[in-house]
Amino acid sequence: MRRIIGWASTTVTLLVLLFGYHTSTSSTVAGQVADTVISSGTVAGSGSGSGTTTSGSGSSGSSGSSGSSGTSGSSGSATQVTGSVVQTRYGPVQVQLSVSGGEVTSVSVLQYPDGDPRSSQISNYALPVLADETVSAQSSSIDMVSGATFTSSGYIQSLQSALDRAGL
């Protein structure tokens, strides 16, 4: 279940990345968007819950609860769970989960806002994305490392050291 919750939060992160636009003149706007995004995360969470039920009964077919009219379809052993379309300030958002053996194996965004001029604005920072979910733990995919007060003596062992060496 923890993994599922993790995935739900990943979905939230993805959506925040995509839609958490920030205007420096109005922090209220960012707050409203975040609220909307979090409700999308609920859709993803209920979808994955349905996935667990699916693997238990051996049949496919599920629908998101909490008022979302999710649809599903089976492809091989994985079940696709599609969340309902959520309207955000910037347009419709819809996500799809692949569920296999009671675990979410992928999250994709089917619909995202397009064409709104404000869509070009990008958030200043997002939620961290956990490494065991979508991020490889390889240093090649990061620019800098944040760690607990490393000293010069500890530096040689750190990942930051490898990054610095590679760049010099």
Partner: protein, 257 residues
């Protein structure tokens, strides 16, 4: 993605910790970029001369011994102590620039404020570089700046407190700061100022926010709060971040800013 623009890097050791710079864009490899870097390093050295608790002749050491008063220190000292006092109040006393030493005497140690505050200040010369992206890190706490919204954010890896060769998470930052507190490299060096006891339950706290001064203060305060870290962090507006518990569990918090 980021590699296409070309990142230049610099490292120097100041205040007993590695200071790493990554630059992308117009001044990544120009004389102006080099001058801004040297200015940033000079700023950190100046701050160290005033604030170091390891230097007997620093203003803070002399202030602690009662040899000089606050009015005889540079105004920066009052500013840092004011931030520390605000943090003490806001953290319910878990964060404090005064801590008991081994003999029980209260010593002045504003290091928990100074580091983030100093890097924020040092980054100014670099952030002024036109059309240039900056990521300036001192001992794992950093200021990030991306000059052109069309370019990729800086991708900051969050170190695994149980294995420094790995990261547990990654966070994209365009404008803002990332600070991490924990015991990974120095042993249990952060104590709850209320009890003088090292924090338990939480292995590491990372805070992402608009400025490094407060990201660093918040990470330190939350770490000192131990088991209460996440609950306290969720009361702090405009931050995101990650708490790694002693058992390795990771929990993110906050909203994108």
């Amino acid at each position: 993605m980021t590699a296409t623009l070309g990142t230049t890097r610099q490292v120097v050791h100041v205040m007993g910790m590695p200071v790493s710079l990554a630059l992308r864009g117009r001044h990544a490899a120009t004389a102006a970029g080099e001058r801004a870097w040297l200015e940033a390093v000079a700023t950190l050295r100046d701050v160290d001369r005033v604030f170091s608790t390891y230097r007997a002749d620093s203003h803070v050491s002399r202030l602690d011994r009662g040899e000089i008063g606050l009015s005889e220190c540079p105004p920066d000292v009052a500013e840092v102590l004011a931030i520390g006092e605000l943090a003490r109040v806001q953290s319910g006393g878990a964060f404090d620039v005064r801590r008991p030493d081994a003999s029980g005497r209260l010593v002045l140690d504003p290091s928990g404020v100074v580091k983030g505050w100093a890097v924020e200040r040092a980054a100014r010369s670099l952030v002024r570089l036109e059309d240039t992206d900056v990521c300036l890190s001192a001992g794992g706490d950093m200021v990030c700046h991306v000059a052109d919204p069309a370019r990729d954010p800086w991708l900051v890896g969050i170190e695994d407190p149980h294995d420094p060769s790995r990261v547990v998470a990654r966070v994209p930052v365009r404008q803002g700061a990332v600070a991490t507190s924990g015991a990974a490299h120095r042993g249990a060096h952060i104590v709850d100022a209320r009890t003088g006891v090292a924090a338990t339950g939480v292995a590491q706290v990372t805070v992402v926010g608009p400025d490094l001064t407060w990201a660093d203060v918040d990470a330190t305060a939350a770490y000192a709060l131990g088991a209460g870290a996440l609950a306290w962090l969720s009361t702090r507006p405009g931050r995101t971040g990650l708490v790694v518990w002693d058992d390795g569990r990771c929990e993110t918090f906050g909203r994108a800013g």
